[in-house]
């Protein structure tokens, strides 16, 4: 990396330290002088926001674990104990519950940004795949966390989701009872989910380190998709990116605080305030909003095994995106057709989310099937073909040139070709 200057320790102690553990030098080269493209827009701040949210979730989670009891007889009441008796317990729990939703919101924005600007393309394939692994991990962590309050939705989410594994031929049933630690979802299930819910965030943090490592090896993509070539194409991470990230992080916190303080239960489901009852299934069970698109895909397929396969495939297919997209041009800014398909894809995902919240009957199922089909077609048909037939716009020679001739806002048309 061109911008990686050697850290020059000033004080005698730092000099002594640097020869033994060059951690200050590592931080300096990764987060101070690290060159970031100068034309990054605010959609690039969501990686920082995600790191921040991971921190919020880990800290509030550790604190909640000090007061929570992972036992079927006490779990619900221990959560209510946190809400009622523990000092600021209501705040910590609402931060954690709404924090999960905010985490997913930021993750989805981050992913769509990557898709729009082609951030998964060579040489960032591993960076992107690590991101898909992170998505799988946060889905698993969020799901197990949702089980812990042991309300009706917790219990039935645990039952339905673990039953997905029963679709596996031959070994399905043994796997499910292995997951449960019994013949039904019960105390052993709750206990192991609690243990794993505490473990996984640290696995996530580890993969985040790899994700950032891969990012710093390949360098950041940028809205033009053209790699930085000159010194004027980049600015040092600190103060430029730090201050920009901080600003949007606080704006994001305003949204977060809106839910935590004013509508803490808006994103949740009322049925989860009913203690778990293994004898009665709620009439209308739905997952949290951030799983709804996947849930809609699951329900769209009338065959049990195929439904589960489609659910899994809808996430795993993302890992193949670098090879499914055949276009040589990264940024949608210079891909007029892809840009339209991208927005259609966003609408399809939102539509699937909405359908996931509706009962699986009548027109909803038909619509979910159409959108599911489109979801996969986007990856398997649209993207491979688009790269072959799309006529892309001319790319700027450098980031600086693109900036000089007027930076264009996100999603707007590309600047006219520059005569050089």
């Amino acid at each position: 990396m061109s911008g990686h200057s050697l850290y020059q320790p000033q004080s005698p102690f730092m000099k002594w330290m640097e020869r033994r553990l060059p951690i200050a030098g590592l931080i300096h080269s990764s987060f101070v002088v690290y060159p970031t493209p100068r034309n990054l827009n605010y959609w690039w701040t969501f990686g920082g926001i995600l790191t921040f949210m991971l921190g919020v979730q880990i800290i509030t989670g550790i604190v909640l674990a000090m007061h929570y009891t992972p036992h079927v007889d006490y779990a619900f009441n221990s959560v209510e104990h946190i809400m009622r008796d523990v000092n600021y317990g209501w705040l910590l729990r609402y931060l954690h519950a709404n924090g999960a939703a905010m985490f997913f919101l930021a993750a989805y924005v981050h992913m769509f940004r990557g898709m729009y600007y082609g951030s998964y393309k060579e040489p960032r394939e591993v960076l992107w795949i690590l991101g898909v692994i992170l998505l799988l991990l946060i889905i698993a962590t969020g799901f197990m966390g949702y089980v812990l309050p042991w309300g009706q939705m917790s219990f039935w989410a645990a039952t339905v989701i673990t039953n997905l594994f029963s679709a596996i031929p031959l070994v399905g049933e043994p796997i499910v009872s292995w997951l449960w630690g019994g013949y039904a979802v019960g105390n052993p299930t709750l206990n192991r989910f609690y243990s794993l819910h505490y473990l996984l965030p640290f696995v996530i943090a580890g993969v985040v380190v790899l994700h950032i490592w891969a990012l710093h090896v390949a360098g950041q993509n940028n809205p033009t998709g053209v790699e930085p070539r000159r010194d004027t194409d980049t600015v040092p991470f600190t103060p430029y990116a730090t201050i920009k990230d901080s600003f949007l992080m606080i704006v994001f916190c305003i949204l977060f605080a809106w839910f935590v303080f004013y509508m803490p239960n808006y994103l949740g489901h009322a049925d989860n305030y009913i203690p778990a009852n293994p004898a009665v299934t709620p009439t209308h069970i739905v997952p949290e909003w951030y799983y709804l698109p996947f849930y809609a895909i699951l329900r769209a397929i009338p065959n049990k095994l195929m439904g589960v396969v489609a659910l899994g495939a809808s996430i795993v297919i993302l890992a193949f995106l670098p090879w499914l997209d055949t276009s040589k041009v990264r940024s949608a800014r210079y891909r007029p057709l892809y840009r339209q398909f991208f927005w259609v894809f966003v609408v399809v995902c939102v539509g699937l989310g909405w359908l996931g919240s509706k009962p699986a009957e009548g027109g909803y199922v038909i619509a979910a099937r159409i959108l599911t089909l489109y979801y996969f077609a986007h990856f398997l048909i649209v993207l491979p073909l688009l790269g072959l037939f799309e006529k892309t716009k001319p790319l700027p020679n450098s980031i600086t040139e693109s900036v000089l001739h007027g930076d264009v806002p996100l999603g707007a048309s590309a600047p006219p070709p520059v005569k050089t």
């Binding site: 800290i59 604190v63 009622r84 008796d85 000092n87 705040l91 910590l92």
Partner: protein, 175 residues
């Protein structure tokens, strides 16, 4: 653009300092709930309300143990001999000099109420043991007399007294 006015500098510096100060305030405020959550919660505080103990069933020479705020409270119905021994001690010879009268309620010298936690490192002493027929801590060998005063061993202080009062001749309220 090569030179910047000093006014610009001041304004920029003020902006940086103000932003930094607000950030620091926010970080400090965030710590409040994270620290406060570890303090005793409302249910613990409510459960630590005063308790009443009926002294009637306690025979002379008997020591009973009750719990208040998670702490063992020793209630010792002392014999005449024990009271005399406790009162006739040369205070100057004690590591933590305190007359017996200061350790019981006036007119109730037969009732000795103590927090049964060794002042050394928190073990629970055993009643009616040790050289003085008082309390003996098995952990590190501290010996207390019938007034709960430290006589030998590593403990620095006499056994502590809980807040309590007599609501009648045979009932006390602890807390």
């Amino acid at each position: 653009m090569t030179t910047m006015s000093s006014a610009g500098h001041t304004r920029r510096d003020f902006l940086y300092v103000a932003t930094g100060a607000v950030a620091a305030t926010g970080a400090a405020a965030t710590l409040i709930p994270l620290i406060a959550q570890m303090n005793p919660d409302a249910s613990t505080i409510a459960a630590g309300a005063p308790i009443e103990v009926d002294l009637g069933p306690i025979a002379e020479g008997q020591v009973i143990k009750v719990f208040w705020r998670g702490k063992p409270i020793f209630i010792n119905h002392r014999t005449k001999k024990q009271i005399e021994e406790a009162q006739n001690v040369n205070l100057a010879s004690l590591p933590d000099p305190q007359p017996d009268s200061a350790r019981v309620k006036e007119g109730h010298a037969q009732w000795q109420v103590l927090i049964g936690i060794c002042t050394h490192l928190g073990c629970i002493p055993i009643a009616h043991q040790g050289t003085y027929d008082g309390y003996f801590c098995p952990c590190h060998g501290s010996v207390y007399d019938t007034s709960g005063r430290i006589r030998s061993g590593p403990a620095p202080l006499n056994l502590l007294l809980p807040p309590y009062e007599f609501v009648s001749d045979t009932r006390i309220q602890i807390g």
